[in-house]
């Protein structure tokens, strides 16, 4: 456990030291959020709601999105792909350490910094933009949302880990990961609430783990689902997490084996 704590601290310092990178990352993410928000506001125009979302709810959706991007979508996939392609991965495999645990510790450090920055930005935007935020009054909603986000974050981590592990076979390339990340952003609802899609397409997406990462948690936060429904969503999400975790570990083990067989 101590090893991972040390890894976390080192990664935290490193993230803080590379300030210019951090600032640029944040600015870039912020630009995306601003443009999405602007687009949605233009859609609402002077109507009261659009797709059942009021202005305040839309703003909240976009701001929650900014925080979720920082907390959920920050895996170590590209690092893993890089370490497989340069062969650096071998040096971890011989050490008495779980690579997943190590990567999770690094990821957590990244999340710490980015979530802090995201809250700062959200606070700033909430002040600047008219219309007000939607903040749920029922403490149960906050708890449900918190649990959902925690599960989402792990779900993303292992899903990304699984896809990145494919680099063991794909001749050292991030192609699958790139593809996965683009698909994920749309399917998770990180660009737009899935309500905009035709019903059939939405149903199809809801049968995948993707909407559990952004769309469902935000709907819980906005109290668009009943408490019972929220619990059902959390249950499904936990099941998905278990399945993805098992699959990721299987892919990882096979990957390591085939990697070792080729002699690195």
């Amino acid at each position: 456990m101590k090893t991972y704590w040390v890894a976390y601290q080192i990664a935290l310092q490193e993230t803080l030291q590379r300030r210019s990178t951090l600032i640029m990352d944040r600015l870039g993410g912020f630009a995306v959020v601003v443009s999405l928000y602007s687009f949605w506001i233009a859609l609402i125009g002077n109507k009261a709601t659009f797709l059942g979302y009021t202005r305040a709810e839309m703003l909240t959706y976009v701001l929650a999105l900014n925080i979720l991007r920082s907390f959920v979508f920050t895996g170590r996939g590209w690092q893993l792909v890089g370490e497989i392609s340069t062969g650096k991965i071998s040096s971890y495999l011989v050490r008495p350490l779980s690579y997943q645990g190590y990567a999770l510790a690094l990821d957590l450090a990244q999340k710490t910094v980015h979530v802090a920055a995201a809250f700062f930005e959200v606070g700033l935007l909430a002040l600047l933009v008219r219309g007000g935020l939607f903040l749920p009054s029922d403490p149960a909603t906050w708890i449900l949302f918190g649990v959902a986000v925690l599960l989402s974050s792990l779900l993303f981590f292992f899903l990304e880990f699984m896809v990145s592990s494919l680099a063991f076979w794909t001749s050292e390339s991030g192609g699958p990961l790139f593809c996965f990340e683009l698909f994920l952003q749309f399917a998770a609802g990180a660009f737009f609430p899935l309500d905009v899609l035709p019903l059939a397409l939405r149903r199809a997406l809801e049968a995948t783990p993707f909407p559990y990462m952004v769309y469902f948690p935000v709907r819980i936060f906005l109290e668009k689902v009943s408490p019972v429904e929220a619990l059902r969503i959390l249950g499904m999400e936990a099941l998905w997490l278990a399945a993805v975790y098992a699959a990721a570990m299987t892919v990882w083990r096979r990957g390591v084996r085939s990697y070792a067989a080729e002699g690195g």
């Binding site: 990178t21 870039g28 995306v32 443009s35 602007s38 233009a42 192609g175 990961l177």
Partner: protein, 263 residues
């Protein structure tokens, strides 16, 4: 003329070498291609879905919004085909490839910008051109002046993007870091997917005058639809005319300060 032919030859050779190198990672390349197609498809599906709920966005119809989106893609992808090498500028510098560029009789800036032509970009731009053609077919009849303005403003947009890439490349040569400079450009560029009119007035100004994303992506389509005044068209060309020499000056100054990474 001979210089032009020489640079054309070098570009072709580099492009073919990059393609051969990429093809050694067949599955990976396929993933990237698929990813790009998915992004395009989803965005289109998204637009179509949005317009099943509303008539217009910021005063633009579905087909007009599609025109903005397709124009964005055309400009953005052309720039990527031509200038992708800048994405790896920091690596080019830190791994010493830039040393070779400087010693050889060919503009190092040219070598840097075209050092990683991605043939997948060239493949992906084909459906974009086809889709743009389909959008054009659905627009009301256009005067030839609008079409000329559209074409010229697109070229102008690509030139402006070039100036930004030169700036980023110069920063990489100067500081040997700032890798993320190009990514912030990519993210801010995202704002160009929508017609600039959807943004709040302050943001709109920032995108037109500050970080001129709007000039690169929104102006051509606006001119085509006859919604851009002559003054703004002149502004767009003047901006590029100023930005290009400035970026070149900055580049030259950065190369003179180049310290080469120690081996």
């Amino acid at each position: 003329m001979t210089t032009l032919r020489k640079y054309w030859r070098i570009w072709l050779r580099t492009a073919s070498m990059a393609m051969q190198a990429q093809l050694t990672y067949r599955l990976g390349s396929f993933g990237f291609l698929l990813g790009k197609m998915i992004r395009l498809f989803f965005f289109f599906a998204f637009m179509a879905a949005v317009f099943s709920h509303v008539e217009t966005v910021a005063g633009y119809s579905l087909i007009e919004t599609a025109l903005f989106f397709m124009t964005f893609n055309l400009v953005d992808m052309t720039a990527q085909i031509l200038f992708r090498g800048v994405y790896g500028a920091r690596r080019t510098v830190s791994e010493g490839d830039f040393d070779f560029y400087l010693v050889q009789p060919c503009s190092p800036l040219f070598r840097m910008t075209c050092s990683s032509v991605d043939f997948l970009d060239i493949i992906t731009i084909i459906p974009v051109i086809v889709m743009t053609g389909m959008v054009f077919a659905r627009l009301p009849p256009l005067g030839w002046q609008s079409c000329v303005a559209y074409g010229l403003l697109m070229v102008n947009g690509v030139a402006l993007i070039y100036a930004i890439h030169v700036l980023v490349a110069a920063l990489a040569v100067r500081t040997q870091e700032l890798e993320s400079a190009i990514w912030i450009y990519r993210d801010v560029m995202f704002m160009g997917k929508f017609p600039v009119d959807v943004y709040a007035p302050a943001v709109r100004w920032a995108l037109t005058v500050g970080v001129p994303i709007a000039v690169m992506t929104t102006f051509p389509a606006k001119a085509l639809l006859g919604r851009l005044s002559a003054a703004w068209i002149i502004y767009a060309f003047a901006l590029t005319a100023a930005a290009l020499p400035l970026s070149w000056l900055f580049w030259r100054d950065s190369v003179a300060r180049y310290t080469s990474s120690s081996s």
